[in-house]
């Protein structure tokens, strides 16, 4: 660190290592599905979805068409609540606490709808190998439509509050820049890579569930800002416009949903017996709110538990970008840059600061947050 400017960045992950993959290799696939929900609280249903997809490939389970659409609707609602959550956290890191509370109040509507469909606000437990455990029937559509109209009415306001605000623009433009080439080399995913100009979206590239039938385009920052350069402002743009994209996707799903069952095999004992005999290896990818989420499963036909299970959460790919984008930035900008990749909160524990001549000091999150808020107040006055 050179005065206020960062020179060298180091990052030590591992604070929340619970040994999930190792635990998964001792359990049967239905138990692993419930474990997947709790890998992450914000994007849990995507982990369950991708594990179900991988095992369905191995065991050759045919998923009914209606289940694809139910999965898509739930995944998109989770994306909406995750992006609004992030918008609130970003506002909090900048010092706009009112905006933080407003965003989380708006988020409650989508969490209410998720509770209406699945029964719980977090950890839904709705994915199952071969479909979903509950159906979204036609009499539930009016409630979903009400939530979608609520969000459509608010989108203009959100764009105004986040993107047209002068202070936010001053703090976020040209901060934390990640060029397109570096984003590609560091294997970043999700809104972080899209904000840098890389058109990478698993829903369009390798369509899964019902996305192959739907008509939507990738969201890049030039829908709003034609001079994007991969900074924090572009990431805000991508996430807010993805909320709009999600609303559109859910509407298309509700219109096109085919009839039929939602679960291929209702009896779990039979399902487990089939899985015990399944063997092979497969991987599946989905577009979680933070990026590409990939699970690799290998089963031999001799035991219930998979022989190998590898989880690649989306933040895993994005964390290397921190080392790159924090170089040369000021300390007061650390909270918003770190939050702009949208990590799961347990990763932003502590930051180690290395001084110019090598003496290290540890700054707590609270101290960094205070520095960030002070900078905003200075810019506003």
């Amino acid at each position: 660190m050179n005065g206020e400017v960062i020179e060298k960045v180091d990052f030590a992950p591992g604070r929340a290592h619970r040994g999930i993959e190792w635990m998964g290799m001792r359990r049967n696939p239905v138990q692993i599905l419930h474990l997947c929900d709790r890998i992450c609280g914000i994007c849990g249903v995507h982990h369950a979805l991708v594990f179900a997809q991988a095992v369905e490939q191995i065991a050759d389970i045919e998923v009914p068409d209606r289940a694809y659409y139910v999965r898509t609707i739930i995944a998109e609602f989770e994306r909406i609540q995750s992006h609004i959550l992030w918008a609130g956290v970003a506002a909090h890191e900048l010092g706009f606490d009112t905006l933080f509370y407003l965003a989380w109040q708006i988020r409650e509507e989508s969490v209410d709808v998720i509770e209406y469909i699945t029964g719980n606000r977090v950890n839904y437990g709705i994915m199952m190998l071969g479909g979903t455990r509950r159906d979204i029937t036609a009499d539930m559509f009016p409630r979903l439509e009400q939530a979608l109209q609520y969000y459509e009415g608010l989108l203009e306001k959100m764009v105004n509050l986040f993107l047209n605000d002068k202070t936010i623009a001053m703090r976020c433009k040209d901060t934390g820049i990640l060029t397109k080439r570096r984003a590609l080399e560091l294997a970043t995913v999700g809104p972080t890579s899209r904000a840098s100009g890389l058109a990478m979206d698993v829903r369009i590239d390798s369509p899964y569930a019902a996305y192959g039938d739907l008509d939507f385009d990738i969201v890049l920052p030039d829908v709003y800002n034609s001079e994007g350069n991969g900074d924090v402002y572009d990431r805000i743009i991508v996430r807010i416009f993805e909320i709009k994209q999600s609303i559109d996707i859910i509407r298309q799903c509700m219109k096109q949903m085919p009839e039929g069952p939602v679960l291929a095999e209702e009896k779990y004992a039979k399902l487990l017996m089939n899985l015990k005999k399944a063997s092979g290896e497969a991987f599946a990818r989905v577009e979680a709110p933070r990026g590409e989420d990939m699970h690799y499963v290998r089963m031999n036909g001799k035991q219930e538990a998979p022989e190998m299970w590898k989880v690649k959460a989306s933040t895993y790919s994005n964390q290397m970008a921190w080392v790159e984008i924090l170089q040369g930035e000021q300390i007061a900008d650390i909270p918003i840059i770190v939050a702009s990749i949208d990590p799961c909160m347990s990763c932003t524990d502590r930051v180690a600061v290395v001084g110019q001549d090598g003496n290290a000091g540890i700054m707590t999150k609270e101290h960094l947050h205070r520095l960030s808020v002070e900078k905003t107040r200075r810019l506003q006055s």
Partner: protein
């Protein structure tokens, strides 16, 4: 909810995540939002354990976080109340057998209020905080007597 007259100051809460999936953390922050609005009772989240009365811990304690949780507990000034939010801190929950977890939270620091659930609803968390207030008052009476 009516605060008793002896409790005449606000309740400051510090939150520590000892390796959880963040579900309980989000419900804790959601419990502080305008929908449930505990700030009218003076309950707010602070950034340093030295200012806090109540410690909220989530997650099964991973090996790397164990010392940090202990240190945070020691930095808090008495009287203090520890709340364990979520099932993984109480009996492991889904993570019932693992090589990197150092046990439920009450093996590391003494816990006063347990809020079970995966994730517990914000109403349940607020009820837990109410119980914590009652216990804090009892502790204050003991200290002053």
């Amino acid at each position: 909810m009516k605060l008793s007259p002896s409790f005449n100051r606000s309740l400051w809460v510090f939150h520590v995540n000892s390796g959880s999936c963040n579900g309980c953390d989000i419900e804790i922050v959601a419990a502080l939002c305008p929908r449930y609005d505990p700030e009218r009772f003076g309950i707010k989240l602070v950034g340093s354990p030295r200012h806090a009365d109540v410690l909220l811990v989530t997650g099964p304690v991973t090996h790397q976080m164990r010392d940090r949780v202990k240190r945070v507990y020691e930095q808090m000034a008495a009287p203090k109340v520890v709340m364990c939010v979520g099932t993984c801190g109480q009996s492991g929950g889904v993570f019932y057998d693992s090589y990197n977890l150092d046990g439920p939270i009450d093996q590391v620091i003494p816990v006063d209020v347990y809020v079970p659930g995966c994730a517990p609803r914000p109403e349940a968390i607020i009820y837990g905080v109410v119980q914590a207030i009652a216990k804090l008052e009892r502790l204050e009476k003991e200290v002053s007597s």
